[in-house]
Amino acid sequence: MNDRDGDPQDIVKLTHDKLSADAVSEAVVCQSCGAVSMFIGTTRNNFEGKKVVQLEYEAYVPMAESQLKKIFRDIRDRWPTVRHICVHHRLGVVPVTEASVIIGVSSPHRRESLEAVAYCIEALKANVPIWKKEVYETEGSAWKENKECLWAGSGQK
């Protein structure tokens, strides 16, 4: 049980360990909040018919952390009642169906945390310097490009 009701918490973790939805939900739950909204990004097993066996993530770690904190500030500007925000992003090898990112947001009422989580994953994909390479069963590997990233090529959009 987490009763850090004093100050809003901004929590970022980039880790090679397996992610846990319980860990993120426990990081943001608070006594004055009725709502926790979460988003979990998982590895899909195929891309354009090619079988994906795993993904590999890398990050520009200090900048990824500072960009996430910037997103958190934007969330607090837009939804001032948001309480705690937590992003856990996995790095290194992520097997198919395991989580690559888990976002959790708590708020007294549900609308704010639901909207904030949707905003957070959108902004993360557009702005946070993290990259993933898909490793295919038969045809090598490819660096992916988020369609939300402004300088992504049109080929993969």
Binding site: G41, Y57, E58, A59, Y60, P62, M63, A64, S66, H89, S100, V101, I121, L124, K125, A126, N127, V128, P129, I130, W131, K132, K133, W143, K144, E145, N146, E148, C149, W151, A152, G153, Q156
Partner: protein, 86 residues
């Protein structure tokens, strides 16, 4: 006047450059496009990224173009291919 900065390569740019980091000597003031050309002259294979890359200078994004980049010794410049986090 030149200065030494740390250049970081990520994802596809690291594969193309064949390394993840290097310290290079560059002018203290140059356009971001000139900085890119500096890197391409060292690692010609990077040129394919021209239309799909930005820099992060001291952890702030800078697009390739005429805008001036001012660098001091020890500054960190990262080559940022299209993002794919999440």
């Amino acid at each position: 006047m030149n200065t030494e900065v740390l250049v970081l390569y990520f994802a596809k740019s690291a594969e193309l450059a064949g390394l993840k980091a290097e310290t290079i000597s560059v002018p203290c003031e140059l356009s971001s496009l000139q900085l890119w050309q500096e890197l391409v002259s060292r690692h010609p294979r990077l040129s394919v990224l021209r239309e799909q890359v930005v820099f992060a200078v001291r952890q702030e994004y800078v697009v390739l173009g005429d805008q001036l980049v001012r660098l001091q010794a020890g500054d960190e410049v990262a080559v940022i291919p299209p993002l794919s986090g999440g």
